[in-house]
């Protein structure tokens, strides 16, 4: 029986980054599939890093014609292969905000057949992004996304960052937001993300401020695969 992870969240919250990192890590231990369900943004999608996924042995399912510089809002019939019996892990990288989350709603009957312990629906939060900047806006977005995705979020991910200008204090801001969300909804915090260096810095803050472990969860170190800095733009285009 496969384990399933669904990445939900605002535009630019880091869903694809986390999905790519987790998929690459899981592929080292067994079968792994990544379903790119983003049909609303032709740029910034996990399919952009098909090379990294292929090298790691991750099976990638992308929307037809994605990264071919044209946009057609359609999903591959191969998505259903993700629900076929098998072993390993499946990741669903969903488009941003509630508009992006619409695409996964149609698979509700398939998700309902899974044992609850096999389905992880993660809500990725970066309070440095404009749309989910604080508790109020993040909870409003959570409600909208849960509505259209027809899925119940099972965990929050603190992915506070400011790209190349990230400092450990950003994770403290993220901590405050996921703490409030978790307290208000009863949904646990799945984990806290960042590069190893940022996580190490955050650990000092955790000790110093005696932060509550319940709202930190696992520390999930990531390496930056997605973010397109100015230099990457110049060499690879949009």
């Amino acid at each position: 029986m496969r384990d399933y992870y669904v990445m939900l969240g605002g535009f630019g919250s880091g869903k694809s980054e986390l999905a790519l990192n987790m998929a690459v890590n899981k592929a080292a231990a067994g079968d792994c599939m990544l379903v790119d369900l983003d049909v609303i943004n032709p740029y910034f999608r996990s399919t952009e890093r098909a090379d990294v996924l292929e090298a790691a042995g991750v099976e990638l399912i992308s929307p037809p014609y994605s990264m071919k510089k044209i946009e057609i809002m359609s999903l591959s019939p191969r998505v259903y292969a993700a629900f076929a019996p098998g072993e390993g892990t499946v990741f669903f990288d969903v488009g941003g905000d509630h508009v992006g989350a619409v695409a996964i709603g149609q698979y509700k009957p398939n998700f309902m057949k899974l044992p609850p312990e096999k389905l992880n629906v993660l809500f990725v939060i970066n309070p440095r992004r404009p749309v989910a900047a604080d508790f109020e806006s993040a909870s409003a977005l959570l409600e909208k996304i849960q509505g259209v995705s027809r899925l119940q979020v099972t965990g929050f991910v603190n992915n506070a960052n400011l790209a190349e200008e990230t400092v450990p204090e950003h994770l403290l801001e993220g901590y405050e937001v996921v703490k409030q969300l978790s307290e208000a909804t009863g949904i646990p915090v799945w984990g806290t993300c960042g590069t190893q260096e940022i996580l190490d810095g955050f650990e000092k803050i955790v000790a110093e401020k005696q932060l509550d472990e319940r709202f930190i969860g696992r520390r999930y170190p990531i390496r930056i695969l997605m973010h397109r800095s100015w230099d990457k733009f110049l060499t690879e285009g949009l």
Binding site: F11, F44, N161, L162, A163, E165
Partner: protein, 355 residues
């Protein structure tokens, strides 16, 4: 306010709202869709109005209407969509209506592609639509700079009663960078006694008429002369340019927008090789900063200038006009969407040096 991780389109939309823009009319096209998307979310929160029109033509004419009523109003599009808006822009210029139009340029001609490009320089600066008119054109080279331009763009539009264009490209629109949203600049709202806000018979305010049709030659002459006099003031007062390490330089690079950012990296590469190269970056493309460009290139130390564009060569004509044959001006670039690397630009300068 702390820095936020913003996509260029989002940052420009938010900056426009902070600059007092309360009306946005647009029609989707990549790579600027994040502007209307953001506006659709934010404008209702600030008591404004977002409307997705049925076409680019409808959108620009809604802008005409809102501007005529004295509102701070904006539309945005990308190259093919901006072409469709040109009739409306010409009409707004004739009717002396202040508004802001954002063009996130993509590859052309025709439908082209959805990568970044600079092929709309001629369209933006030399008319675009029909008739004797100009729009003020700002060309940001980073998201932060674009944010800092928005208040000025709306203010200048109101001051001169002229459409203003922000000419950026898909890179600025789609790139994500940490941005300080406090740098929008000072906002100056002004009275608009000319606006058509409702006529009260017997009231003090005369009837406001927004019009661009003048059948009698003498009448049209009055309008065109008034516009031209205003354009002359703008040519004197509004040119903006950034010069970077131009003093005593051997070669001068000329570029605007994102390409200027690449050129700065090339300047630094060449500096390490002991070659003194400077950069002139026009920030306003109309009015074009002819004097400052000439000043930088006419220096005795300068051997040649090199204009770099992601086009088949458009701004280079204004650079040559500025230099007026005093020094040779070469061109590097290609139509479509191929952005040269800093190394390629540096290599070209080295070639010019060897020649």
């Amino acid at each position: 306010m702390a820095k936020k991780l913003m996509k260029g389109c989002e940052a420009i939309a938010e900056a426009a709202i902070q600059a007092g823009c309360r009306y946005f009319f647009g029609y989707p096209i990549t790579p600027q869709n994040d502007i209307p998307e953001y506006m659709s979310l934010r404008l209702p929160q600030v008591g404004g109005c977002f409307l997705q029109a049925e076409s680019e033509l409808a959108a620009i004419n809604m802008v005409y209407g809102a501007a005529g009523a004295g509102a701070r109003v904006m539309t945005s599009s990308s190259s093919p969509g901006i072409s469709l808006k040109q009739e409306g822009i010409s009409t707004a210029a004739a009717a002396e209506l202040p508004c802001v139009v954002v063009n996130m340029m993509r590859g052309g001609p025709g439908l082209g592609n959805i990568q970044a490009s600079q092929g709309d320089y001629f369209q933006a600066t030399k008319g675009g639509g029909h008739g004797d008119y100009h729009v003020i054109v700002y060309a940001p080279s980073s998201i932060q700079e674009a944010v800092g331009m928005m208040a000025k763009a709306f203010d200048v539009a109101d001051e001169y009663r002229i459409p203003v264009m922000i000419l950026a490209d898909g890179l600025i629109g789609q790139m994500m960078e940490p941005v300080d949203m406090d740098q929008v600049g000072e906002v100056h709202l002004r009275e608009k006694p000319w606006a058509a806000t409702g006529y009260v018979p017997g009231g003090k305010k005369p009837r406001a008429v927004i019009n661009s049709l003048y059948i009698e030659t003498e009448d049209l002459d009055v309008l065109v002369s008034r516009l031209e006099a205003r354009y002359e003031v703008i040519r004197q007062k509004e040119p903006m340019i950034e010069t970077y390490k131009t003093e005593g330089a051997e070669y001068i690079l000329c570029a605007y927008g994102t390409v200027a950012r690449v050129c700065k990296a090339a300047v630094r590469i060449l500096e390490e090789k002991g070659v003194k190269v400077g950069l002139v970056r026009p920030i306003t493309l109309w009015p074009f900063p002819y004097d400052k460009v000439r000043e930088a290139i006419a220096q005795e130390s300068v051997k040649e200038a090199l204009t770099v564009e992601v086009s088949s060569g458009q701004m280079v004509e204004d650079i040559r006009l500025a230099v007026n044959g005093i020094k040779p001006v070469q061109f590097m670039g290609k139509g479509g969407s191929r952005i040269p690397s800093a190394e390629e630009i540096a290599e070209r300068i080295m070639e010019m040096r060897r020649a």
